[in-house]
Amino acid sequence: MIWVRVILALSAVVLFVATGLILKKVKFSLFVALGGIALNLVIVIANWIMNGYVPFISMYQVLAFVGVCFPLTYLFIKYVRKTETSFAWFTLCEGVCMFGCQFMYSTMVWQRAPALQSVFFMPHILCYMLSYSLCAVAFVQTIILIVRKARKCPAEDIAHTEKTIYSLVITGFPFMIAGLFLGAIWANECWGVYWGWDPKETWALVTTCLYALYFHTRKNKFFAKIIIPVLILAFLALIMTFVGINLFGLNALHSYS
């Protein structure tokens, strides 16, 4: 059954790439992408109905939710931040999330532990998912920046990519800060401490500090040279926080995630 899902997912990618990049049928490609987004939304709504609450119980549900954050963040970046960037990069990241979902247990029912029954639960996770979706696209743009620099593309193109990365990270960073500190306020209401030095918390703080460092490196020509390594390390720390800790089986206080 899982291979049927994987083949379907790969077929969608092939269809999207073939229509968009090879045949240059951009409108048809957009139609394919919108179809995928609609299906992603259906999965989130189905999970929501199944839980009777926001669908954040398992990595499957959270990844499916992150998926629908990408189109939303694209709209914000394009129309509020007024930064032109290709929708394809957002759909690519959404596709990666949905592809990951294919390998996860999807029929689990909602059993929210007492500690999770809090008003902070939804905003804490929602903020993180919005910031992670923007940081994922920023990482893709960082790779593009590396390629453009390596291929010695025009300075204008490189500057545009740098500005796009900045626009993505500066939009995602407040949500990351909100996720982190709403979690701290919640922990104080639940366990009487703001911070528990849980591995997930430690790596979340490393991630936040690295993205904060990115903003400060931009202010100075000398430190601007390390922007790319900082962005790559920040995203690696984000991956460690989001899935790495779970893979290591080290999610003590965050054992629900």
């Binding site: 930064t83 500690a115 960073f173 407040p174 500190f181 306020i185 366990w191 591995p199 460092l213």
Partner: protein, 295 residues
């Protein structure tokens, strides 16, 4: 240049320290539960970091464009002062209380044996646990016992417990023990066996609070601490075997400052990164390039 050097140094040291602790945790090291050298190192490092970035932010010439940045850096200082007040004068005592509707306690004892007067009395009248539907964990029988191979098999949306490759599917009716309950152990195929586990839905402690002749009966649940005479009372855990609940008594005069600091950090960051660029039209200053840039 001077301020950016301070900021970069502060960030670099903090990130290196945090990464070292993070990697140590990945390698199996556990953060000590008692206040220890690791806590001292991180507390001092975070304290110095907050001061340095605040000095760096406020040391520069005032600019209204940086209003959000000032707010968030002020938030760090407020949080730091709140934490210092707690360190200097706070109370944090975990105590086990037996469920007994006739006993009342007016003091708590710290880990070093010091007695603290609460200024009121409390008693734990009752404790109630509500459970979700059962879940099963699958174990493989081995020569030296049993090894867990799968956990959290729940009644799925199709109304079955699906054990997959370990032994098929069972409905709730299949697993009835005939007494209104559910069988505790299922022998699956080969060497696999499943044991039932029931996840807790809600813990509720009924607490009596006495202030002179005034008695109030309150329900204490996780995430909803009680407040009385400057103390916050948290429900931490419960032992069914001993019929005792672990309560945390916390007194933190700096809490309002710490929490306000966190709110200022969040508000300042949102203002600096999202609100100000939009209301000032700063977003429009980004050099826009149409889709050609991505080709």
């Amino acid at each position: 240049m001077k301020f950016i050097k301070i900021t970069m140094t502060a960030f670099s040291v903090l990130i290196l320290l945090l990464t070292a602790f993070g990697i140590a945790q990945l390698c199996g090291w556990e953060w000590p539960t008692e206040f220890s050298a690791a806590n001292w190192v991180m507390s001092v490092a975070l304290g110095i970091f907050c001061v340095l970035i605040a000095v760096s932010a406020f040391g520069q010439k005032f600019n209204v464009k940086r209003l959000g940045s000032y707010i968030l850096h002020f938030g760090f200082i407020a949080f730091l002062i709140g934490c210092l007040i707690y360190t200097a004068s706070g109370v944090h005592v975990l105590t086990s209380v037996p469920v007994n509707n006739s006993a009342a306690y007016s003091t708590i004892q710290t880990s070093d044996g010091k007695l603290i007067e609460l200024g009121f009395s409390f008693g734990l009248d009752n404790f109630k646990i509500e459970y979700y539907d059962p879940v099963y964990d699958v174990y493989e029988k081995t020569a030296d016992g049993a090894k867990q191979v799968k956990t959290d098999i729940q009644l799925n949306r199709d109304g079955v417990f699906d054990f997959g490759k370990y032994g098929g599917k069972y409905t709730l009716a299949n697993l009835s023990d005939g007494k209104g309950g559910i069988v505790e152990q299922i022998n699956l195929k080969d060497n696999y066996v499943a044991f039932v586990r029931r996840a807790v839905k809600k813990y509720t402690a009924t607490v009596s609070l006495f202030d002179g002749n005034d008695k109030k009966v309150k329900e204490l649940t996780v995430n909803h601490p009680l407040r009385k005479k400057g103390f916050k009372i948290y429900l931490m855990s419960y032992s069914d075997k001993n019929r005792t609940a672990t309560l945390l008594f916390k007194k933190d005069y700096g809490e309002w400052l710490s929490t306000s600091g966190l709110v200022l950090i969040m508000g300042g960051t949102f203002f600096h990164c999202l609100v100000y660029p939009v209301i000032s039209g700063k977003g429009k200053r980004l050099p826009l390039k149409k889709e050609g840039a991505e080709k």
